[in-house]
Point group: C2
Chain length 489, copies 2
């Protein structure tokens, strides 16, 4: 309460209410990815923090800068083991790179400055400060001076020289891009490297933030399933990592490896994510005497699709309608699988993926991205099962008047579970198992759900209708929701 | 997936889908409180478990038996640090009294039997088993024999004698009841003790499960705020604890104590919650040569209220309409504060409170209580702000056709925060702080939200309309939702 009451004491703070902590942390993730600086979450004790953990997990994987302030009991009240008391440190440690407790008012200024610096230092991390109630009530010392944020250090000269030597051999080579390599500067440098060396550009399966579209180079996305990943890298004799970790399987499947680099493919690292990755790519381009510009994509959109709503027609409808400068938040899972390739030639846009696999990230992330990016249209491709995790985010979108168009990909099932069951050869499931994978009976009515939170909505059952509703929604300010009824459930 | 696929392998299992893990754990809490035996939750990796922590926190405070199975990566895949990997033990420890990892298929039978026994042993606790994917895929050994559950041991003879001596002195004494003391057997024994000694019966502020109504003794509820609690105990020279811990303040307020026992009030313990508390109360009644029955309440309901919806008229409407054998799940917070006293003479019913203060418990708990109690009507008194935390529970109520009547107490604010602000003397809040406490702009439409999940609903703005809708709802099978528009926001 003292922290809430203090929000008006300093001009320039903007408070945004989420009706569930997972909305707050997911929005902080979206904000941090787009703004490149931390949002602050204000959370209440262990259970309030716990509600935000899943989206902090995603943010940690995205290397998003976030500062969490957790209000705790007064120091003198902890021993009472009051009902809301719990072991906050144990809950916070798995998602916090920096974790401290502020028990005295006089320490808070310096601790908050330290938390902000810890979060904002490249490549970005999560800093959590637990603030005791008596410390909140006390008199803070003078505001601490902001800590200087050091830029990311350069990659080693040796690594750059080694990468240049490897690429000059002109073996079939993949330049595997992640983190800051996926910004405009990194991509344009990577395109120059590709022009000089003939290497192929590949990016992480689930990028935290990828700039793409017309005017930027073509980048293949590393596939999701391990056998597909191994096949994608099979043509290559060398793999050079730039801001990305060596690819591993999302899940471990019997008989398939964790590490997805084919035998005989030599792997080296140009720059890890904590280094100046765009600078390393530029230095590599220089070392290769690359041309001033590599190949980039010309604008080419799919035509407006027609017929039933499939992953292909849904992807085409989005790619055809997305305005220049759109921000695409993709938690469409199986339903949006075709979109990425179809949008390669769409006007310049930013693509935000589910980095940590913890579902329920899309709607909050879209809210945070919109807050960070006034004037840009956010389009959230949202699977229905995942969307139900944090549907409360729609209310925040309405309250803040955010320019978010949500497309609910309504297949009324946890389709990915069916895919995994089939992969594992588990067929002829019984009614108890089947019941856990179906979202029908009763069917969710997303137009009503959105309307209940102040977001206007429409349900569409064809690709034509989706295209029409999309064109209308992206042209009008504020949030809208379109429930896209996927064919075949 | 292998655990899901196996659900049909053994007859008699019933799977219930929650669209968010907080629904699953809250429903397991409601089930365990009513059934007295553990429900099993099936959760996915660290983030899936994390989504269920807040309601496990409540269940831990309620001493509800629950077994959590958390599916983890294959043992050989952990080192890859795949996107969904996290420190599950660190997340699970704060809410788990028993926490183990099952890495080999051959161990699972014995581990599950141990987990069930750990959870079910009186007074009930949470057992969490993390099961690696390769262990799930392997061949389990023969089913382990169920472990024998030992009943709660008796309280010490010495403690019973000491309590009898204290009560015979006939000083003003409060018998402070919690846990199993609040079941029918414990309460009837406590009434005999009161008849013999003149002591007053008081119960915990937030009982996990309290039997009450006509035919049971009057029990005062210990108040929420510390100054009220101290005042309530001020007349007493002695306090005897039976299944309850000594009362502490919910939050620590400057100038007020943590421990809420007035100076000079002698405190003793008849039986801690892990002992046979009803048996101890019966033994105490015998030691006092108490009559065979104490005083109990006669049925007396408030009359149907009229006028604006206030905590008083809302409480009267519920108490007037609740059918015999109702289960009342109370997360109405400030809006339901008057209900408890008004329902003292309602027909026999069961009252379930928010034990751990982690909001978002009511709707899931109501679902679990209904699953455990076919043929009984569940009435959930649900604050709107708290209800939004886990509104997905309405879908489970619809799918399972549960006899739950939800009354949303719609004051469109986090009213308790305003109360706390006023108590702390924080007035003249600015717009940033005020914005975090108001749920208006846009107003939530709970009838649409419920309809979107298959639950029929109605909005009422007067006490007469609430009474009418309640009478209709409790007479029809299946779930209903009534949005009660509280006067004065």
């Amino acid at each position: 309460m003292p922290l809430v009451a203090a929000l008006d004491a300093v001009p320039g703070l903007r408070s945004v209410l989420g009706l569930f902590e997972g909305v707050c942390t997911g929005a902080a993730d979206g904000y941090g990815r787009m703004a490149g600086k931390p949002a602050l979450t204000l959370l209440h004790l262990g259970p309030g923090f716990a509600n935000g953990i899943a989206n902090l997990h995603n943010a940690r994987r995205a290397r998003t800068p976030i500062v969490n302030l957790i209000g705790d009991h007064a120091t003198w009240h902890l021993a009472a083991d009051a009902p809301l008391h719990s072991d906050i440190e144990s809950l916070a440690a798995p998602v916090s790179s920096w974790l401290r407790r502020g028990d005295r008012a006089g320490d808070l200024g310096a601790l908050v400055a330290e938390a902000i610096a810890a979060a904002a230092a490249p490549p970005g991390r999560i800093a959590t400060l637990i603030v005791a109630h008596d410390a909140q009530l006390g008199q803070a010392s003078a505001a601490a001076a902001p800590r200087e944020i050091q830029p990311a250090p350069p990659a080693s000269e040796k690594a750059i020289r080694a990468a240049a030597v490897a690429l000059r051999r002109r073996r079939p080579t993949a330049l595997f891009l992640g983190g800051e390599a996926l910004g405009r500067r990194g991509l344009l440098a990577a395109a120059r490297v590709a022009a000089a060396s003939g290497c192929r550009l590949v990016c992480e399966t689930s990028p935290a933030r990828l700039e793409r579209g017309a005017g930027l180079p073509a980048v293949a996305r590393f596939p999701y399933f391990p056998e597909q990943g191994l096949a994608a890298l099979a043509p290559f004799e060398a793999l050079v990592l730039a801001g990305a970790q060596a690819p591993v399987a999302f899940f471990g499947y019997p008989g398939q490896p964790s590490r997805l680099i084919p035998p005989g493919c030599e792997t080296s690292t140009l720059a890890t994510a904590d280094k100046d990755v765009p600078g390393a790519l530029e230095a590599l381009a220089e070392a290769l005497a690359a041309p001033a510009a590599g190949e980039t994509i010309k604008e080419q959109r799919p035509s407006r699709p027609a017929g039933a709503l499939t992953p292909e027609s849904l992807g085409a409808a989005i790619a055809a309608a997305q305005p220049d400068g759109a921000i695409i938040v993709d938690e469409g899972n199986t339903s949006s699988a075709a979109y990425f390739a179809l949008a390669a030639g769409a006007p310049r846009h930013t693509y935000l993926a589910l980095t940590g696999g913890a579902i329920g990230q899309g709607l909050p992330c879209a809210a945070g991205a919109a807050i960070a990016s006034p004037g840009r249209r956010v389009i959230a491709l949202q699977a229905d099962g995942s969307g139900m995790y944090t549907l409360q985010a729609l209310w925040t979108q309405a309250r803040e008047g955010l320019d978010v168009t949500t497309v609910i990909c309504a297949n009324r099932s946890y389709r990915i579970l069916g895919v995994e069951m089939a992969r594992a050869g588990m067929k002829d499931l019984g009614p108890q198992a089947r019941g856990l994978m179906s979202l029908s009976d009763p069917a969710l009515d997303w137009v009503k759900l959105a309307g209940g939170m102040g977001v206007p909505g429409a349900r569409v059952e064809t690709a034509e209708a989706l295209a029409r509703e999309l064109e209308r929604a992206v042209a009008e300010p504020g949030p809208h929701l379109i429930e896209a009824a996927m064919a075949h459930g």
